[in-house]
Amino acid sequence: MTSAPVIAVLDYGIGNLRSAQKALEHLGAKAFLTNQEDLILSADAIVLPGVGSFGRCVTALEDCGLKEITKSAALEASKGGRPFLGICVGLQMLFSGSEETPGLNGLGIFDGNVSLLSNAEKLPQMQWNSLDSKDHAMFRQLSEDSWVYFVHSYAAPIGLYTVATCTYGEEICAAVAQKNLWATQFHPEKSGETGLQVLRNFLRLAGR
């Protein structure tokens, strides 16, 4: 990498977006929070964090006028274009919709609906859990059973795009990827050294 990758962390007016930015900066990237289209389009990679509910996040994205550009950026990444990373609800929004907010469309990059963790003893899953991961660039230099931090009550369906799962009452989708579109249900920015390695792997994808 000859110079630090420039990462646009989408700022669409929800909760704590700062931690993703800080973790990326800690790893040497030039990460900034933005809702400006020109800055988003000139970045080397895009990060879509999300906390709270599916409905709240999708609506906030619409209200900021960022839903379409986010959708096209995610779609582009899924075809091998500019890297895109979704985190937590940022993963869920890549799907068609969610049981949490029926009738509201997600970005629809992946087919299927996000659904409640109905076999869970306690919700949300707010804990560290171990991954069962595939051999994928997202987990480069990590063991197959790395531990990461989750906070969620809903999860995406498991499909061909699933690159990691974890067990919480049942096997659930923990990470998805299609070419340069990566997304994690867990919080890499809050998963200690393991999470930082996932972000390093993403930055490698975004490297100049």
């Binding site: 909760g15 306690k122 949300p124």
Partner: protein, 256 residues
């Protein structure tokens, strides 16, 4: 599978850790940022900062602590003490904290819990409850406010159900009868509150040895265990605590 979190709590007074101890690894054991980073490297699953000064001036100092912590500690951390309204919470969260914990302010105005949950998501909202056995009926527990100074007349079990309904994402429950005694958690209180509590329950107050942590989980049903003294005074490391939990058959995140 439920994986139990081990959470050291740091009491911070005007930017300094109270009850600080001298870990050889630390240049300044009173610096909350250094201590947070140390616990992270030891395998703590989360951290709680409690601002015990909780004055407006101390809050500025706390925000600086939060900002510096968020630059170098990449595990979840909660900040409590002196958070009175949405604006206080926003500043703490924007500085980089993952969750805020409210106690007295929620007792004075329960709608604050709803407002926080609607604004930031309920995963950000920890409601801390300090409770004590009542004199009239030692099987009942009463909520206290203002750092345990004022009796409120609220029944602990009912209060926990109320704040859960309002949007609390987690309950941090402290037994005032046990706090500081090193006699172990109040298991009956944990069970009493826990049976009606659908959100994660963090046990606190009274931990004096590692077996107490096991009891809190296996007997009390806690989802997470919080302790201060046994870690701060260097009696036990996070890693020892986790090994002990694991030996008792409890799932934990392995330490590095």
């Amino acid at each position: 599978m439920k994986t139990v979190r081990v959470i050291p709590c740091l009491d911070v007074d005007n930017g300094r850790v109270v009850k600080g101890i001298n870990f050889l690894e630390l240049r300044d054991a009173g610096d909350p940022v250094q201590l947070a980073s140390f616990y992270d490297s030891e395998g703590a699953d989360e951290l709680v900062f409690l601002d015990i000064a909780a004055s407006p001036q101390a809050q500025e100092t706390m925000i600086d602590v939060v900002r510096r912590t968020a630059e170098q500690v990449f595990i979840p951390f909660t900040v409590g003490g002196g958070i009175r309204n949405l604006e206080d919470a926003r500043r703490i969260l924007r500085a980089g904290a993952d969750k805020v914990s409210v106690n007295t302010a929620a007792i004075e105005r329960p709608q604050l819990v709803r407002e926080l949950a609607e604004e930031f998501g309920r995963q950000c909202v920890v409601v801390a409850v300090d409770a004590k056995r009542t004199k009239a009926d030692p099987r009942k527990f009463e909520i206290f406010s203002h750092g345990g100074r004022n009796a409120t007349g609220l029944d602990a079990t009912e209060w926990v159900q109320e704040v859960e309904g309002l949007g609390a994402g987690e309950i941090l429950q402290t037994s005032m009868d046990r706090d500081g005694t090193l006699d172990g958690f109040d298991i009956e209180m944990l069970k009493e509150i826990g049976q009606e509590c659908a959100v994660p329950l963090i046990a606190s107050g009274g931990v004096g040895n590692l077996q107490h942590l096991v009891e809190g989980v296996l007997e009390g049903g806690a989802d997470a265990v919080l302790a201060a003294s046994i870690f701060h005074f260097g009696e036990h490391s996070i890693s020892e605590a986790k090994h002990h939990l694991k030996k008792a058959g409890i799932s934990i995140r392995p330490t590095p």
